[in-house]
Symmetry: C2
């Protein structure tokens, strides 16, 4: 938690609860997932505070906002380079290591200043493909 104080966050119980829930979380939760989990521990927790906290964490680079689920945004506390397997049926998102280099040849960049790469593999997870 020291690292959050260092980036200039005012440490409220609400923020600590969100940070604690996200710590090491591999589920790529939505804002509602976070709200529901944290609300159990902290019944006064509001949606506005969840979004407010996520917005600051995004800004500070401590959380990634994923736009891979057509229905809602998902959040990833793992900001290291990795790719995603996504089930188009149950919307499960699973981390996998990147299998190739980040580099895009300059000729392909069209003068963009590229900052980040996202790679997603869409399909059916083991459970959903059974049906």
């Amino acid at each position: 938690m020291e690292k959050y104080r260092r980036i200039g966050l005012k440490l409220t119980p609400q923020r600590l609860a969100v940070l604690h829930y996200l710590e090491g979380n591999k589920d790529h939760p939505s804002a509602e997932d976070i709200y529901r989990a944290v609300h159990k521990k902290l019944p006064t927790m509001s949606f506005a505070t969840v979004y407010n906290t996520l917005s600051i964490l995004k800004e500070k680079g401590s959380v990634l906002e994923l736009t891979v689920d057509p229905d809602k945004k998902r959040y990833d506390p793992d900001t290291g380079q990795h790719d995603h397997l996504i089930c188009i049926s149950c919307k499960r998102i699973v981390d996998i290591p990147s299998t190739f280099r980040f580099d895009l040849p300059d000729s392909a960049k069209r003068n963009f200043a590229v900052i980040q790469r996202h790679v997603e593999y869409y399909g059916f997870c083991p459970e959903c493909k059974k049906r």
Copy 2:
């Protein structure tokens, strides 16, 4: 247009207008972009019909729904394998050829049945990086 009749579409003026607008379109338009463009030619055009048409085209595999813009869905009539450069400032989306093989090693698939791969490079486009 023959190919749309062949996949079992009832060809209404509204659908033809949407199909014509999407044909060869490289802008990755949103539903609203499509609505505005088609509405000029066909003033009775409604949003419901835009979404209805897109939904059918998606189903038939004639259009890809992109979830790379956090604000709204974008549509891509080019269903061949290619990657995207995305400007996080103006939301412009530019096509680039894929620079590596589709294959994901079986060991990385976690038993998913992978159907599609999406690769996006996020950053600033030439115009937006000037500021």
